[in-house]
């Protein structure tokens, strides 16, 4: 670790931010000109979507379970135990579904992208691709961004659904709530603004995961050690960004829908 003056440090960070913005911009603008690598897009959707399904289902389900358990205890103090379903559904759809799915996919795929592209960078495969006349951003980054945004949207819906189901299971079997009134209260608790908010977040998270993962991968230097470093940085930065952007989107959507 070498220490640099604050001025140099700030310049480095600003340059990095600029590089990241250019990459993020080009990953999108490439969609409006040919060629578009559809085969790579489908491959990525498969590896990100199908591959992440087990962890997304498991985390979603158990989050719903624990949420029901904790909120039933808390609500009982106010004599509002029957509102458990509504609380679980709201928390899952607005916050925990999007954020936890984002974090899980970030842990699995931002790291995967950074290490894959990082290995390609240090073994000169990225340069070879450019030498063979292909734009690596178009071929590698754009398909990952598009696939992650698309797939994370549906993974979030799945996570919300199994979370609500997990909550219902705990609510009925452990807390002794009535199944139909539980689901009724879940359903009634949600309004369109909640769903819009919950489904806007994965669009941002997906974009963050793929662009940050690819950014750290493509700027890897220093051999295999560098690949390890890039992987760690990609997960840390994308996870923090997901939570920060979650807050910003929440604030914005509450401004729009008022809830």
């Amino acid at each position: 670790m070498s220490f640099v003056s604050p001025e140099v440090f700030a310049k480095q960070k600003i340059a990095a931010l600029q590089d990241y913005s250019v990459l993020a911009g080009r990953s999108i603008s490439n969609l409006f000109s040919r060629p578009i690598y559809w085969a790579d897009i489908y491959t990525q959707m498969d590896s990100i979507g199908v591959g992440s399904l087990p962890i997304v289902i498991l985390t979603g389900f158990f989050t719903g379970c624990v949420l029901a358990l904790q909120s039933a205890t808390a609500l009982e103090a106010f004599g509002a135990k029957s509102k458990t379903g509504s609380l679980v559904a709201l928390s899952m759809v607005k916050e925990l579904g999007p954020v936890l799915t984002g974090l899980m996919v970030s842990g699995r795929n931002a790291s995967g992208m950074a290490s894959e592209l990082g290995s390609m960078k240090v073994t000169e495969q990225i340069d070879a691709m450019r030498a063979l006349g292909t734009d690596p951003i178009r071929k590698l980054v754009t398909p990952r961004v598009l696939a992650t945004v698309f797939v994370l949207f549906f993974l979030t819906i799945i996570s919300d659904a199994v979370g609500i189901a997990g909550g219902a299971l705990v609510g009925v079997s452990l807390i002794g709530l009535n199944a139909s009134s539980y689901l009724h209260s879940s359903y009634n608790g949600l309004v369109i603004g909640d769903i819009a908010q919950g489904l806007t977040k994965p669009l941002f998270s997906g974009f963050i995961i793929a662009t940050v993962g690819c950014y750290f991968g493509l700027k890897t230097t220093g051999g295999t050690q560098g690949v390890g470093r890039a992987t760690t940085q990609a997960v840390v930065v994308s996870s923090v960004l997901i939570i920060v952007v979650d807050f910003l989107v929440s604030r914005l959507m509450i401004g729009i829908f008022g809830s």
């Binding site: 390609m120 495969q125 340069d127 450019r130 030498a131 063979l132 006349g133 292909t134 734009d135």
Partner: protein
């Protein structure tokens, strides 16, 4: 009336032999404040094989990446086929690179693709039909004598085989310029000789202009003193200590050109550093 500016057919057909294929003019580049190349100038002409020698870390690979526009110099001008690659946009460079084949130091094959897809990469990008690209892959792999490896993956190949696949990938589109970055680096002497033979074959059969980096003097001199006998299909020493006059040398040390000339001039150079390096 507009004046007739259409060049005569002869002017189009006759290649401009005076114009160098690659030219570097006062090129310098530094990384993180450390100068790697300083004020480099040289030219490579049509059908010339230019061997770049020098100690490791001397900036040879950087020079080659500059020639392909993969890196941009801090100052100076680099022209390839008469076009200024230093001021070109990446998108226009992709078109120019269609005429350039490059063999990377560590082969740089795509791990996720089979040998066939690696070699056919450029054909697939260009939308060449599956049948035609397969035929051309077979032909290119035959040239590098790797016919049997077509369905394998890079991880299943030895270093020498990877290098040969990389050469097949570079020559499949019959480029006008080939850049070989240390094609024999890290290989045993016998495998190195088979790679040198391929390069000599490419040089003497297709007469493609090329740049070749090596730090093995023995390989450099084999290249300069052999020719490919198409009748026997083998590389042979030129008779009477002959020297291939299309092969020329460039020696780099500490980021500067310290020699630029023919094989004879190199071995007769009075420069003490070169004498020491060659001995």
């Amino acid at each position: 009336m507009t004046p007739d500016v259409t060049p005569s057919p002869a002017a189009i057909l006759t290649p401009d032999t005076d114009q160098p294929v690659v030219s570097f003019e006062n090129v310098s580049i530094a990384f993180d404040g450390k100068t790697v190349l300083q004020d480099i100038s040289f030219e490579v002409h049509q059908a010339e094989t230019r061997i770049i020698l020098g100690p490791a870390g001397g900036g040879k690979s950087v020079l080659m990446k500059l020639a392909n526009g993969l890196l941009k110099p801090d100052t100076g001008t680099i022209k390839v086929f008469g076009e200024d690659v230093t001021s070109m946009r990446e998108r226009d460079l992709f078109a120019l690179r269609a005429r350039i084949g490059m063999v990377f130091q560590e082969s740089a094959l795509f791990d996720s693709l089979s040998v066939e897809d690696n070699v056919a990469y450029r054909l697939h990008e260009d939308g060449v039909s599956i049948e035609e690209s397969h035929d051309r892959v077979v032909e290119a792999l035959h040239f590098v004598e790797l016919d049997h490896a077509i369905t394998k993956y890079p991880s299943e190949l030895s270093g020498g085989m990877r290098r040969r696949v990389s050469i097949a990938r570079a020559i499949i589109t019959k480029p006008d310029l080939i850049l070989y970055d240390s094609p024999t680096g890290g290989l045993d002497p016998i495998t190195s000789t088979t790679i040198v033979e391929l390069i000599v074959k490419q040089r003497d059969v297709s007469h493609t202009t090329s740049l070749l980096i090596t730090h093995r003097l023995q390989d450099a001199f084999t290249l300069a003193m052999s020719h490919f006998n198409q009748a026997t299909g083998k590389m042979e020493r030129l008779a009477n200590e002959g020297i291939d006059d299309s092969t020329r040398f460039l020696v780099l040390n500490e980021g500067k050109v310290i020699f630029d000339g023919s094989t004879l001039e190199l071995v007769r150079s009075p420069d003490p550093w070169i004498k020491d390096y060659l001995s």
